[in-house]
């Protein structure tokens, strides 16, 4: 086969493979819209079992946090949408830690270890860079990510003082924007229940 034919065939094959293998953009959009609706939930939070932690003396467990309101943030330092949201999370931690909120980062890599996301030293550098003082678990095998059925970075799961998932959602937000206010309101709602 002549060179031009080889090149054409190769190009078509690659384009076709990509087209067939990827989800259609409309379907992806619909899925994103569904999750970004930040739906209320009402199921028991599954217990995570992460062993490697930062900003914590020992591994935190769901059982050990009974009576607390817990906000899980699924993130990774290579995700711009995630790091853009960190100032809001730092603010939540500053405002509500003393009232019973436990904010936990679940650091879940997107790529295999060659990308550096699994390296605890890199995660530690990111925590310092973004002034994150709340506990973070390394979720290098995506076990907690899968346990909670997460699909997007960043995602959030808000658990009440009885260990029930009350709210879930995904997507970047910023200090005092509409979504910040929504999450702030939800945290205050659950803290009020805890104290009531």
């Amino acid at each position: 086969m002549p060179r031009s034919a080889l090149l054409l065939t190769f190009s078509i094959g690659v384009v076709a493979a990509g087209t067939l293998a990827l989800e259609s953009s409309s379907r992806v959009q619909a899925q994103a819209n569904l999750l970004l609706a930040s739906r209320p939930d009402n199921r028991p939070a599954p217990p995570w079992k992460n062993e490697s932690w930062l900003n914590a003396d020992r591994p935190l467990t769901l059982k050990g946090l009974e009576g607390k309101v817990v906000l899980l943030n699924f993130w990774v330092f290579t995700c711009y949408n995630c790091t853009n949201t960190v100032p809001s999370l730092v603010d939540f931690d500053r405002k509500y830690r003393g009232q019973g909120l436990v904010l936990i980062g679940i650091h879940t890599p997107e790529f295999p270890p060659y990308a550096g996301e699994h390296d605890k030293r890199n995660v530690a550098r990111a925590l310092k860079k973004y002034h994150i003082e709340y506990p973070n678990a390394q979720d290098n095998e995506s076990r907690t990510w899968n346990l909670y059925g997460i699909r997007f970075w960043p995602s959030f799961v808000l658990i009440d003082n009885k260990g029930v998932i009350r709210y879930e959602g995904a997507g970047e937000f910023h200090l005092n924007d509409r979504n910040y206010d929504m999450w702030d309101q939800r945290i205050r709602e659950l803290l009020a229940e805890q104290q009531g």
């Binding site: 190769f10 087209t19 995700c79």
Partner: protein
Amino acid sequence: MSLTTLVLALGWLAACARAPSGPLSLRAERSGSDTRITLIAAPGYKVNARLKPALELPDGRVLRLDSPHLTPDSAYFVQPPSALVPGRHSRIKGRLRASVCDPGQTVCRSVVVEL
């Protein structure tokens, strides 16, 4: 190449072009003695430049796709990232990974394509 083959190939290409496009597509072209692959994002999608796309070859090598042209915050590629695959190939095998972000929805997700 016969005219029939060319017509069939172009028809196939046209059919692919009409299909619902995913967030990513790949372009491949010969570059000297090598093959250059370029990752194209569909409109509305952006490829995360903090986590450069990777082509994992069957022999274990990993090629990272890159471009010097990024957004001012270095978060996304402005021009499509590409990489040179050594040699001339009629077909590339491997696994392509990319972190794809939709600024409208403010989330990222991982896309994996088996080639």
